[in-house]
């Protein structure tokens, strides 16, 4: 009997060493708290719920403590585990192009086609990427890591994941979470900068209504866009190719079913998998490092630089434009590719100063140009650094 009880006791003792409670560290609880905070932001504040719910819950999944020496094959970093299989889409970089396919299939480039000079705002805002690159180098990151960190400033989660998986796979979790977090916090980060850099007079500039865009132009845009950008930067092909392909599916008018699948079930499925695995990749043992904290700080800086450069570029650009053709600098923030959040912010801030001045359509131009610009920038970084 005593032997039996000792056997049971030993088993229970072994079981205890496998529990999350036994293996928990303060880092696990810290990450779980961040995950719950993300879920709170998504549910209570409605900050990017489509991203923050999967990422926040993924953080909970990824930070359940377990005995890592037991070979249970449950952790995201354990080869052969289900989570690790899901994570392959991130590490091998095939989730982001599929997300771009869906983005292409749901994006209307009409605003950009009708007023193509807005593309230049999308280019100017990419300075956030290279500003953060310079600061990251100064903080001691090597050029490849600095490039991967800098891309956070593009405000494009899939691009950030794609580039960091190639340039700095060990920093990918921190970069992805940082990129998505700041994309969700765009409504908090951007408006004060926009107000600070513009005058009251500039904020009420009314822009010409966009002209109607013909079907031929809409069909030509993805074809010309792909040829131009990818001949210049072939390393951006996975992202730009899928973006323009998705857009052609939408605009051709003869592949409605394919376009609906790309912008509906496909992008939803990939968003779920991408969000939850990126969240789970923040396993405390791998994630809570000084580098991660630095990356978070650099991410915020890159967003600030991107917004600033977008707004200032519009002000500079206005110097060369006719009086009746000026651009409202409040759409400068939309040069970052957080579609359509940053465009929505242009609209909201614009309405604060003139309730009948609707900037959304105009802001969508630089916003989608930002998507193209950040993918081109990622291609350049890959070409330069890899």
């Amino acid at each position: 009997m005593g032997e039996f009880l000792s056997f049971i006791g030993q088993n229970l003792g072994d079981f205890w060493t496998y529990t999350g409670i036994y293996n928990a560290t303060w880092q696990h609880f810290a990450m779980i708290a961040i995950g719950i905070f993300f879920i709170y932001l998504a549910v209570a504040k409605e900050f990017e719920p489509m991203l923050l719910i999967p990422i926040g819950f993924g953080m909970l999944i990824g930070n359940i403590p377990f005995n890592m020496d037991a070979g249970l094959q449950v952790g995201i970093y354990e080869q052969g585990s289900v989570l690790n299989i899901f994570y392959q889409g991130v590490t091998s970089g095939w989730y982001p192009p599929l997300i771009f396919l869906g983005i292409g299939a749901m994006t209307d480039f009409s605003a950009l086609i009708s007023n193509p000079k807005l593309m230049l705002i999308g280019a100017a805002a990419q300075f956030g990427i290279f500003g953060a690159y310079i600061i990251a180098l100064a903080l001691g990151f090597d050029p490849m890591q600095a490039g991967a960190i800098g891309i956070i400033g593009g405000a494009d989660g899939p691009t950030a994941i794609f580039l960091s998986s190639k340039l700095a796979p060990n920093l990918m979790g921190a970069i992805a979470v940082s990129a998505y977090s700041y994309m969700a916090l765009v409504p908090v980060i951007q408006p004060p900068i926009m107000r600070l850099l513009t005058t009251k007079k500039e904020r009420v500039i009314r822009m010409k209504p966009p002209r109607a865009v013909s079907h031929t132009e809409k069909v030509m845009f993805p074809i010309v866009g792909l040829l131009l950008t990818c001949f210049l930067v072939p390393s951006g092909l996975p992202l730009l190719g899928m973006l323009f392909f998705g857009n052609l599916l939408k605009e051709s008018g003869v592949t409605r079913r394919l376009a609906e699948t790309a912008r509906g079930p496909l992008i939803d499925t990939i968003t779920i998998l991408l969000g939850v695995t990126v969240g789970a990749s923040t396993q405390a043992s791998e994630f809570l490092t000084v580098d991660s904290i630095l990356i978070f700080c650099l991410g915020a800086l890159s967003f600030i630089i991107a917004t600033t450069s977008g707004v200032l570029f519009v002000k500079f650009f206005n110097l060369f434009l006719k009086k009746d053709n000026k651009i409202n600098p409040l759409i400068g923030n939309a040069g970052v590719s957080a579609v359509p959040d940053s465009a929505r912010i242009s609209q909201n801030v614009g309405l604060e100063y003139d309730p009948s001045n609707y900037l959304l359509m105009h802001a969508m131009g630089p916003n989608v140009a930002g998507v193209i610009g950040s993918a081109v920038a990622a291609g350049i970084l890959l070409g330069f650094l890899l």
Binding site: M119, L120, Q126, Y133, I223, V224, L232, V376, L385
Partner: protein
């Protein structure tokens, strides 16, 4: 196809052609084949041993592509006398003939094909000029190399300086040039690109300027093209509209000079017409009454939907 569409398509073609700059040809560059002969050792006295523990001559193939390449059913040919060529058929059915991306495969020139897939049916004669070629299953030459007579001593190899490169050298003669069977001919022990970045552009300004220049030029080109396309398209739309209205050439020019009516004007007209036709009453007396209905039955409480029906006997 009308003139404008033809013009747009021509412009598209011109853009493509303008960007299709021809890659300058490098003399002696072998671009066609993914599989290359990479290194040859003709007399093996103390060098690499085969799986039988023998020191045999060898020829190394290199898959220069970034995808796997299967050399099964390929032909490895050797000749040191004009008109006399030995041919070795690389057998099918051996998984090891699949060469991984940027990896090597070694074939032993011991004249003992019965020893396995990687033992060929000929031996080298280092005294003579030697030609070796690899052919695909359709007998198409993929790559060839001529080893000059007498340049290789025992345990020396004739190898590309860099894997897949165009320049060859004799290896094994000194301490700095090693014979490298089944491995990289040039071992990269540092990241040259990164080191250059760290020394030449340690603060990253060069990268920022050049990368921003590329981003700007890409989007600037897109802007120029779509500005032109937009103008052509708007002009075309106005012309079509004028034709539909039956205007003559002068009236068409006049209408086009005025430009198109903004969409906002049409929206305002439509709204005014709608209000005129539909909203005849300024104020409607409306009483909204809400009655609570007593409905005890609801599909949610129905047992039909929650319980399985008993089978009838």
């Amino acid at each position: 196809m009308n003139k404008n569409k033809f013009g747009i398509l021509s412009m598209l073609l011109a853009v493509v052609v303008a960007f299709a700059s021809c890659k300058p040809a490098v003399e002696g560059e072998e671009t066609g084949s993914k599989i290359l002969i990479n290194e040859i050792l003709m007399t093996n006295e103390t060098n690499f041993q085969d799986d039988y523990g023998m020191h045999s001559a060898w020829v190394e193939l290199f898959n220069k592509s970034y995808g796997s390449y299967n050399v099964a059913a390929h032909l490895l040919k050797y000749s040191d006398t004009p008109g006399d060529t030995a041919v070795y058929f690389i057998p099918k059915g051996d998984v090891l003939t699949l060469i991984q991306p940027r990896q090597h495969s070694l074939f032993w020139a011991d004249g003992q094909p019965a020893r396995g897939t990687f033992h060929v049916n000929f031996v080298f004669n280092p005294e003579k000029e030697t030609w070796i070629g690899i052919y695909d299953s359709g007998n198409k030459l993929l790559n060839e190399v001529v080893v000059p007579a007498g340049i290789l001593q025992a345990d020396q190899s004739y190898a590309r300086i860099q894997d897949g490169g165009n320049e060859w050298e004799v290896r094994g003669a000194g301490t700095d040039k090693f014979v490298t069977p089944s491995t990289n001919n040039l071992t990269l022990d540092k990241n040259v690109k990164m080191e250059k970045f760290q020394t030449q552009d340690s603060i990253g300004v060069g990268m920022a300027i050049s990368a921003m220049a590329v981003v700007f030029s890409g989007l600037l080109l897109l802007y120029i093209i779509f500005r032109t396309i937009g103008k052509v398209s708007a002009w075309n739309a106005q012309r079509t509209a004028a034709k539909t209205k039956g205007l003559n050439e002068e009236e068409t020019k006049e209408a086009m000079a005025k430009g198109s009516t903004p969409g906002e004007v049409f929206a305002a007209i439509a709204m005014a017409m709608h209000e005129m036709q539909e909203d005849v009453h300024d104020v409607e007396d409306t009483i909204l009454t809400i009655h609570q209905t007593e409905r005890r039955y609801s599909p949610w409480s129905s047992k039909i939907y929650s319980l399985r029906e008993m089978p009838k006997k």
